[in-house]
Subunit: 339 residues, 2 copies
């Protein structure tokens, strides 16, 4: 088994190009702590597709200073340069509560005061984070990702704040990154419905499947009474992803996916077939996903995707994709399931 | 003012046909209690578009018997016959808790164990309600409406249960309604995404805008910190409604709307323009909505709808529709706002 693991790791170092050479996908890692950058690197991440910044705010009585944040972001950016690091701005609220923030008690926190909603009403702390990110951006290839955008006015308010922050840094004589790409997490269903309008206003999309599925199906996936309905391969979810990718392509922007869905090898062929440009996942999943991509052709992916779109039941789709991969990669898939 | 009110009431008794005679819309009432049927009738409701049955289950220690439910449903059906009465099956859970049901405590009840999810796992009480509805259907024009459908398997499970119930009634020699139309509330975003598939399986759709907006925008509208984002005329919501109506029309089924959005006169022209077949609302809103419909032409509605779809900001759309109606109906709209 060790031997297999080693041979898999060699795939980590190779680019994720389909067998026919027609399509190359960026495979990056999600990280939650600065320490995880080494694992990301050793497993072949071609950048960080999702750097969650909540850890800086949780489990402490005070807020992290601009300097502390600057050092953390700079460290990750430098470590990966010139590979891109996508920093998600604070996604607190919902199930993650920072004691320093004195957030309200809510009946439905998942539908409440969280992420960009909180940041736009607490511009003091949001500006501190944005200043730290822009200053750190000088030291690497930085991309900025805004969570939970549900409408255009929220995005415009955010962009306005970004300009203010840059102006302030300029007037203070501090250097900051000039070419930070701006993206949004597409994870609220309304953002999918207006993805064509949003695509005109940003440099990239990242599909946050965990929340998107939760909201699209109206299912709290940690609720044991209903999580049997939470389904990654629900035909509605596949259609929403297709809609987001189409809007991104029509707008000429990069479309990534950073939810858990992106790291499950069963989904790899259909995600390629759907046209995603980047898959960001738990670093441990990278070698196998790269191996799969290097072993299949885009024709196969498109054919599989077309077939899955003829089905109307999530379990049928899952069974179809799983049996395909089991047949095509009997050894890998078997081993992976028993890790 | 009384005179105006009286003149408005005469509109209640007239059909809701556009001025040009090209389009007729069914205007019906939402009711929550049996007592409300008189108000519905006196205000010109052409049926009950949403009969909420939760009141039979709330505020009491026990469950209502089949007989008690049968009498309640029969009373409403008889009172309105031959006009249709759409009975929504139990939509408990979420913010409505029945002590008799011992429902679990949930972190996000709106994304939890509610409505059809609860009914399909508590088939004892669901079957009791369905038996009562089918038996009562003999006495009027009964339509059956299932809340919170999010996927096809849920709908298939429901249809199977309906067959079982009818078979049981048949074998017991009890008479039941044979031509009860089956519909679903389209209120979960995933149902919108697969509306074309769902339309093949039911006789009608009813758009539940309150929940649909809540889930599509990921906003709990009773949460004071975020309800500023809850927006009926968000371009995403208008697009979702258009998608539902198109799928319904393509499937040849009736499409109603029963959320609060349906009863606001500001929305009347655009809802006609979008092609809805029925608007179900608070009975008090019926006379004015009928008057508006009788005074405008479908060309006007389509033109307004087209213009609204060019806008990307909910506030802009709201301002546009409101100023249109204010200009077109200065007296009515002014009085309505000051009631
Ligand atoms: Mg998220
Ligand atoms: Mg509802």
């Amino acid at each position: 088994y060790k031997k297999y693991q080693q041979s898999l790791m060699t795939y980590g170092r190779l680019p994720a190009v389909t067998r026919d050479g027609s399509r190359s996908v960026r495979i990056s890692a999600n990280i939650e702590l600065v320490d995880e950058i080494d694992i990301a690197y050793s497993h072949g991440a071609e950048g960080i597709g999702l750097f969650r910044t909540e850890y800086l705010f949780l489990g402490r009585p005070d807020l992290p200073s601009e300097e502390e944040q600057f050092q953390a972001y700079r460290h990750v950016l430098e470590h990966h340069a010139p590979k891109p690091v996508t920093i998600r701005t604070l996604d607190i609220g919902g199930d993650k509560i920072a004691v320093s923030l004195d957030t309200p008690h809510e009946t439905n926190p998942a539908l409440g005061f969280r992420a960009i909603r909180l940041c736009l009403s607490r511009t003091d702390l949001f500006k501190t984070q944005l200043r730290a990110i822009y200053r750190a951006a000088v030291y690497g290839n930085c991309k900025l990702l805004i969570p939970m955008i549900s409408c255009l006015p929220e995005l415009f308010a955010t962009k306005k704040l970004l300009e203010t922050v840059k102006e302030e840094l300029r007037s203070e004589g501090l250097s900051y990154g000039n070419d930070v790409k701006l993206g949004i997490l597409v994870e609220v269903p309304s953002a999918v419905a207006i993805a064509d309008l949003l695509a005109k206003e940003v440099d990239f999309f990242s599909i946050g499947t965990n929340d998107l599925i939760q909201y699209a199906l109206a299912i709290d996936r940690v609720n044991e009474h209903v999580n049997y309905l939470y389904d990654t391969l629900h035909p509605a979810i596949l259609r929403l992803i297709r809609q987001i990718v189409s809007a991104g392509q029509a707008g000429g922007i990069h479309v990534a996916m950073c939810g858990e869905m992106a790291g499950d090898p069963v989904n790899t062929p259909i995600l390629l077939g759907l046209g995603l440009d980047e898959l960001s996942m738990n670093a441990l999943a990278i070698p196998l996903v790269k191996k799969l991509i290097r072993s299949i052709s885009m024709d196969e992916c498109r054919e599989l995707t077309w077939q899955a779109f003829q089905m109307s039941d999530a379990r049928e789709i899952h069974g179809f994709l799983e049996s395909w991969i089991r047949k095509r990669f009997p050894k890998d898939y078997f081993i992976d399931q028993n890790q």
